[in-house]
């Protein structure tokens, strides 16, 4: 894949000395300096992320809510105006196409945020699945830049730049306001396990908004933060990532996300029958693993029985945890091996390293 898409902050990242990486065709900051320092800043003060690569799809019209009820596994018509929900789009066979956040901006107005690598696919599926509804699906990704301020100092930092009542803005709520004089959709959402905000703004305002947040945040310890620490933050928080924990070959039940599938919705939705069956047949389960050693279980490594070496699963994500100081991983294992406390091993490049199944998340904020 070629890296031909650049965020409006491309030159800003270069000026900050970022190491850039290709992500789903976008040139994105991987880290600015030490990714562990960036990780720690988000856990203790705050980090500023450029997430412009995420896809934004607008769904509008009298039947917008019903169309999304049909297209997605969640009960979208139950979402209150100015609220958001974590949900998924599944295949007819019950596999996961993507995980999504759906924001309801009005009775007939939704913004669906999809992963960068899936934005086109999700937009296409939503269009296809909405054909019989009075609703319009439009890929609006080009109209939004997305910044995130994440970490315990986020409220103070964003609060210093806006008149909005931030303490009243609940987790998974959204409002239209101005931050640093820039019109934004301000949401209390994130992917780090910390309190924080995501700010949707016009691409032309991206640099002004970034600079204002960086300046207001500096006295509080805010640093620019790249995709590398975003990955370790979400892993510690036990949050799944499309392409790793979530794929078309996994069901939400295997991923411990059965709660987002609303089989109790009154109307039919894509994947319903397959998902109802999948709920009764969960042969493998997503678990957390920790290792007492130093070698890190990485995505794709086999999980094996500690005694016999029999293969019982596969690692989906792994990293040295900056917060816990030990290697952590998520893995799918045979469901009878998923109980916390179970002792297993991971085949790390030919050598079985002992690991223990632990409850997710690895990290929960105080």
């Amino acid at each position: 894949m070629t890296t031909d898409r650049r965020t409006p902050l491309d030159a800003v990242h270069d000026a900050l000395g970022a190491t850039m990486t290709d992500f789903a065709g976008w040139r994105m900051p991987l880290r600015y300096g030490s990714e562990r320092d960036e990780h720690t800043a988000v856990r203790t003060t705050a980090g500023l992320f450029d997430l412009t690569h995420m896809g934004e799809i607008e769904v509008t019209g009298p039947d917008a809510a019903r169309a999304l009820d049909h297209a997605l596994v969640g009960f979208v018509s139950k979402i209150g105006v100015d609220r958001a929900r974590y949900t998924m789009i599944c295949t007819e066979e019950g596999g996961i196409v993507d995980d999504l956040i759906v924001y309801r901006l009005g009775d007939e107005h939704f913004v669906v945020v999809a992963n960068a690598s899936n934005a086109d696919v999700v937009a296409g599926s939503l269009k296809y699945r909405s054909e019989n509804f009075d609703a319009v699906v439009r890929d609006a990704s080009e109209e939004y830049t997305l910044l995130a301020v994440q970490g315990p100092a986020s409220t103070e930092i964003v609060g210093s730049l806006t008149d909005a009542d931030l303490p009243a803005l609940k987790y998974y709520a959204i409002l239209r306001t101005e931050v640093a004089g820039v019109p934004v959709l301000l949401a209390r959402t994130g992917y780090t396990g910390e309190d924080g905000f995501e700010l949707f703004a016009a691409p032309d305002d991206a640099v002004a908004l970034w600079e204002a947040l960086l300046a207001a945040g500096k006295p509080h310890g805010l640093v620019p933060a790249g995709l590398s620490c975003r990955d370790t933050l979400r892993l510690e928080a036990g949050m799944p990532l499309y392409g790793h924990e979530l794929t078309r070959d996994t069901s939400p039940y295997e991923a411990n996300l059965g709660r987002v599938v609303r089989l109790d919705k009154p109307e039919d939705f894509v994947g319903r029958d397959a998902l109802a069956a999948a709920q009764e047949d969960v042969r493998r389960t997503l678990v957390g693993l920790t290792s007492p050693g130093k070698r890190v279980p990485r995505a794709g490594y086999p999980v094996v029985d500690a005694e016999t070496g029999e293969r019982v699963g596969e690692v989906t994500s792994g990293a040295p945890s900056p917060t816990l100081g030990v290697p952590i991983a998520m893995a799918y294992v045979a469901s009878e091996r998923a109980e916390p406390g179970t002792r297993l091993a991971v085949d790390i490049r030919g050598k079985a390293e002992p690991v223990e199944v632990v409850a997710l998340p690895f990290y929960k904020r105080a």
Binding site: T19, L30, R31, S34, E35, R36, S228, C229, D231, T232, K294, R295, V296, R298, A319, P320, P322, R349
Partner: protein
Amino acid sequence: MNPEDLKYTKDHEWVRSLDGRRVAIGITDFAQKQLGDVVYVELPSVDDRREASEPFGSVESVKAVTEVYMPLTGTIAAVNTDLDDSPENVNTDPYGDGWMIEVTLAEGENMTNLLTAHEYDEYIKAESAD
């Protein structure tokens, strides 16, 4: 940018000539920047013999694990055990405290085919431009 008195490989290792048949080996500043924060360095045992281009260990960073390769054939004469407690030395001082192994070169082995600092600079410039 890279020390003039060292030799280099396209796998981003450096080689320093010590006394006689002995050399020290580590990874370059370019390599450590690409890897990001190093959290663990896995090294061979002293007296192991390794062929040129064979892996002699691996470097775990936050993002990934990368193998490191023997620039030349020889026998491991020493390993930098300080990296057990201070793997970050690979990031902070790649040509000094971040050294990884010392090797006694095999008979007939020599450094003439390795890259000079200038050749290595040109190589990584071309690689970064991709």
